[in-house]
């Protein structure tokens, strides 16, 4: 239990996927313009991350590893994620149309989102157990949501401020991201202080 709490805390706050590991920067900068789309995108990412981890972990442990095929992991994982995203989209469309209407447009984007493949690869690299991997993926998604929501609020604030022309658009957004990342660095020692 304590281990899972540590994993969750560290992946949400200390090693935030977006702000400290630089995974999923494209949606972070591209889809954070409006709060609604930021939240929708984050939930879609979280959902796919958990699903992808749940599916790829057994494949790696029971298929690739026993047959010494670890070098195929990139190809296998990306294919599994691509197929999974399509399956999720089709089944959402059929069975949960309400959810599909709010998440549907973000789903195709997620195949090429490095946060999902990154989460899967990190779980393998850190040698987590199955349960730990699932929670790590969930925490990564929640961290992504946190960063997106915070950032879309900040973006709406800077939208109408006078900014030097050269800094308009993406540069100013990156400056804001830099300051948000700076504030997240403050969580640095939190794990050691709480749990030890």
């Amino acid at each position: 239990m304590k281990e899972i709490l540590i994993i969750l805390m560290s992946v949400i706050l200390v090693d935030n996927f977006v702000l400290s590991k630089f995974l999923g920067i494209c949606p972070f900068l591209g889809v954070s313009k409006k709060l609604n789309s930021a939240v929708g995108m984050s939930f879609a990412v979280t959902f796919v991350m958990i699903m992808a981890t749940a599916v790829t972990y057994p494949i790696y442990r029971h298929l690739l590893k026993p047959f010494k095929l670890e070098y195929l992991q990139t190809i296998v994982f990306i294919l599994v994620i691509a197929a999974l995203v399509q399956l999720v989209e089709i089944s959402l469309k059929k069975y949960v149309p309400i959810l599909h209407r709010s998440l549907g447009i973000y789903l195709p984007l997620i195949t090429t989102n490095c946060a999902v493949l990154g989460a899967v690869l990190l779980n393998i690299k850190e040698e987590y157990t199955y349960i730990q991997s699932i929670f790590n993926a969930m925490g990564a998604g929640i961290g992504f949501l946190l960063a997106m929501v915070l950032f879309s609020g900040i973006r709406q604030r800077i939208e109408h401020n006078p900014i030097p022309i050269a800094f308009k658009g993406v540069p100013s957004i990156l400056m804001a991201a830099s300051i948000v990342a700076l504030s997240f660095m403050g969580f640095g020692g939190i794990i050691e202080n709480i749990f030890n």
Partner: protein, 246 residues
């Protein structure tokens, strides 16, 4: 986007194709693609160069291969096919780096396999290699790869110089300016990247060209489906559908 395709159709300026990716349509600084690796691994000039060269190799190979196969791949399954081709080359390059540059491999970590989801590569496959002959695609791959490498080298060099006072591990300014470690950390990455894009925007403004204000969504293969999400300001007019995996 359209300019590069028109150029290719004319087939007149091959040198232009090569330099297009380096300066005019630099994937990182102008098209704003592949932001994740350009922020994550650029803590030193060597890492930036290593990542750039690895990506360039994959981009070159995938551009050539996809251009060769463009008439065989059915358009409904083209995105998954591109991804498989790219993933194959990423695996090859990954194994090569592991064998010959273990230090770089260590520094790049999971970002080496993550080249497979780098939008620069899939974007070029979709926008260029799938529509143009092999020679042009090769040149485009080299040009875009060089542009990517150059941008990563600039970001990595700036961060290493400011954060560590050195360049390529050679101590330069550390003795008289205290190194500012923050530039090696995530906030410094965002900061330097932002400043570089602002500089590029300024240069473009001086040359009376419209600086790019939005994310490079138009070059992304899933732009069609996320037009709403991204604000849809880049009216590329080509709605692309994500190929279905069957």
């Amino acid at each position: 986007m359209n300019t590069s395709i028109e150029q290719a159709e004319k087939g007149s300026s091959w040198m232009g194709l090569l330099t297009n990716g380096i300066i005019k349509e630099n994937p990182v600084l102008v098209l704003l693609l592949g932001t994740c690796p350009s922020l994550a691994v650029t803590t030193s000039a060597v890492n930036g160069l290593g990542m750039g060269i690895a990506t360039m190799l994959v981009l070159l190979c995938s551009n050539v291969f996809i251009s060769l196969l463009k008439n065989i791949i059915p358009s409904r399954v083209r995105i998954p096919s591109f991804i498989v081709i790219i993933a194959g080359f990423v695996t090859i390059v990954g194994l090569l780096v592991q064998a010959y540059a273990p230090g770089i491999n260590e520094a790049l970590g999971i970002f080496l396999p993550l080249i497979v989801v780098n939008c620069v590569i899939l974007g070029r496959a979709e926008m260029f290699a799938a529509r143009n002959p092999v020679l042009q695609s090769t040149l485009d791959g080299i040009g875009m790869g060089l542009g990517f490498t150059l941008a990563l080298f600039l970001i990595g060099g700036a961060r290493e110089l400011l954060g560590n006072g050195s360049l390529f591990g050679i101590v330069l300014t550390a003795e008289f300016i205290d190194p500012m470690g923050i530039f090696l950390m995530p906030p410094g990455g965002f900061f330097i990247y932002g400043i570089l894009i602002a500089v590029v925007n300024k240069i473009m403004a001086l040359r009376n060209r419209q600086p790019k204000q939005e994310m490079g969504c138009s070059a992304c293969p899933s732009a069609g489906s996320c037009g709403m999400a991204c604000g849809g300001s880049e009216g590329s007019g080509e709605t692309k559908r994500e190929g279905k995996v069957e």
